[in-house]
């Protein structure tokens, strides 16, 4: 022992975890989702960097926010992305959101006895939304993608063409709905309308309960609270959540990254006017993903 006496046998334990601060948050709308996180990474009282992303685009309809132990978080995101790529190679399409949610729970629970010390929030578009009122014609409903043809033939073999047309038609014109899934480190998960996690969870979640779920608010006589808020209102709530968390929590600040996922068929109403917005969608004719970046206080 270089420093200290040999008088008492020393037993030291290596702690494989640390906390890297920061906060994440996601809110689901009727036909969109907003997933956001600050970009500060810290350990104890030290700011390690002012820009370390915690929110990641997985597919054109799924965005994952990861908070807790940064090394575990990065490794976990890396492995989820890898599994989604394998899925793409096997099935020639992106994994649906609810399937990604179950995948994440399985991957987290696989590490039950040496957990990834991360809180995950998955946001995006679920394939369970309202149906289009103006139905596109049969020919445009079938996309030109060659693999969709394979799909068609398979179904024909299984069931009569009448049933087939009905099924495929419905799938194609369905408008997705905004969805948020939140997880604990060992995989317990549920679908919610909104969720905050991380260092400032205890500051942000009560605010969301009040503003999104209208808890402790009474609607004016004869009126009821809206079930879903419009995108502009949600973005304002997200920005206010993070500026407030930055004021009151030392581990939150530096930068804010907000991902907006829009359901296919929804017009990007008002979104194009937002300063510094950037589209990160990879395919045309799909749900769309945008990133909005804002500065937060750096002290």
């Amino acid at each position: 022992m270089p420093d200290g006496s040999f008088a008492h046998p020393q037993q030291r334990h290596f702690n494989p975890y640390t906390e890297n601060g920061g906060t994440i948050l996601a809110i689901a709308g009727a036909d969109f989702s907003v997933i956001a996180g600050d970009t500060r990474q810290s350990e104890g009282y030290s700011i390690q960097t002012r820009y370390a992303p915690k929110v990641f685009r997985l597919t054109d309809r799924a965005v994952l926010a990861v908070n807790g132990f940064a090394a575990d978080g990065n490794m976990f995101v890396k492995k989820v992305k890898q599994r989604l790529e394998w899925y793409r190679h096997a099935h020639a399409k992106d994994m649906p959101l609810r399937a990604i949610a179950r995948l994440i729970q399985t991957m987290l629970y696989a590490q039950r006895f040496f957990p990834y010390y991360v809180y995950n929030i998955l946001g995006g578009i679920e394939e369970d939304g309202k149906y289009h009122t103006s139905l596109p014609s049969y020919s445009t409903a079938f996309p030109p993608h060659p693999l969709s043809r394979v799909h068609w033939i398979k179904r024909e073999w299984k069931c009569g063409p009448k049933v087939l047309v009905a099924n495929t038609f419905r799938l194609l014109v369905q408008l997705g709905s905004g969805a948020v899934y939140s997880f604990d480190p060992v995989g317990s998960y549920e679908r919610e309308a909104c969720r905050a996690a991380g260092a400032a969870q205890s500051l942000v979640q009560p605010f969301l309960d009040n503003q999104i779920y209208f808890k402790n608010q009474t609607a004016p006589a004869g009126q009821s609270h809206p079930t879903h808020l419009p995108l502009q209102d949600v973005l304002s709530i997200v920005i206010d959540s993070f500026t407030s968390a930055t004021e009151r929590h030392i581990e939150v600040g530096d930068g804010l990254e907000m991902y907006v996922v829009l359901a296919k068929g929804r017009s990007p109403q008002g979104l194009e006017s937002i300063a510094g917005i950037q589209e990160v969608t990879t395919k045309s004719d799909s749900d769309r993903v945008f990133v909005i970046r804002r500065e937060l206080k750096k002290d």
């Binding site: 022992m1 270089p2 420093d3 030291r12 334990h13 290596f14 494989p16 975890y17 640390t18 890297n20 990474q41 350990e43 030290s46 390690q48 960097t49 002012r50 820009y51 370390a52 132990f69 940064a70 090394a71 990065n74 490794m75 040496f114």
Partner: protein
């Protein structure tokens, strides 16, 4: 008859009858590793290096570390080099356990030789070296057998500067100025003030003097530091690690300090 060749020619165990049918005989149990108790994992660093500082400037990145390897509070080795060139576009700076660092050096040297022998006109840049190290350190922490270091990887390849950190937990991040250990507390405020927002205008001479000043402050305040250090630069010309630089220090001010120490007013 014992049909396991590995058991042949070994001293007979008279305690059991190999020909018996009940209870079933068992082979002598070799599965226990007799040296298992002797296997030690790093539970704490022994011979250690203190802070490494790094910054990005106009033409590339610059890194500094002193030449000391301490054994607890003893200044044990006073001409150790803690900056290491990897390939021709990367430099690695190490703090923490020096034997783990030397092991990492052998890993990297093997890696670079493998890449060289492939002779495919590809070589590893700083981003690849950092990714490799972060995987090695994260996998070792996951085996509860960490490599007890905080490492800085810096470099420039294809006109792109790179500076990032990785430690014994596998934690990684990149920033325009980074310091490990005590430097993260003492040097970072000075470095951020001098560098943030000026990454693309700072000249090599300015960068060198900022680093030297930070190293001086660290030598004044960090009891595990030394006044001899080296600076590594990576720019378009490649990697260069300086000769040992000796800090100029002045201790006259200590005379005037009152309020602690041996003196009574």
């Amino acid at each position: 008859m014992d049909h396991f060749p590995t058991s042949w020619g070994r001293p007979r165990n008279e305690a059991y009858d190999a020909f018996n049918t009940y209870p079933l005989h068992q082979r002598p149990n070799h599965s226990k590793d007799v040296f298992a108790d002797g296997v030690q994992r790093t539970q704490q660093p022994i011979v250690t290096g203190t802070s490494v500082l790094a910054l990005t400037y106009k033409d590339g990145i610059m890194m500094a570390a002193d030449n000391l390897a301490s054994y607890g509070s003893l200044a044990r080795f006073k001409s150790i080099q803690r900056l290491h060139a990897v390939g021709n576009s990367t430099v690695l700076g190490a703090s923490g356990d020096m034997s783990d660092y030397q092991y990492i050096q052998t890993l990297l040297d093997e890696l670079v030789i493998d890449e060289f022998t492939a002779n495919d006109k590809h070589d590893l840049g700083p981003a690849e070296i950092h990714e490799y190290l972060s995987r090695v350190l994260y996998s070792r922490r996951s085996k509860m057998n960490p490599l007890w270091n905080s490492l800085l990887v810096g470099g420039k390849k294809n006109g792109k500067r790179f500076l990032a950190y990785v430690d014994l937990l596998g934690t990684t991040y990149s920033a325009s100025t980074i310091a490990t250990g005590y430097g993260a507390h003492i040097a970072i405020p000075l470095l951020r003030k001098a560098i943030e927002g000026r990454e693309n205008t700072l000249t090599e001479a300015e960068a060198r003097s900022i680093l030297t000043e930070a190293m001086r402050v660290l030598f004044y305040r960090d009891a595990r530091s030394l006044d001899k250090f080296q600076i590594a630069t990576v720019n378009d010309e490649g990697v260069s690690i300086s000769e040992t630089i000796t800090l100029e220090t002045a201790w006259g001010f200590a005379e005037g300090i009152r309020g602690y120490g041996a003196q009574t007013q």
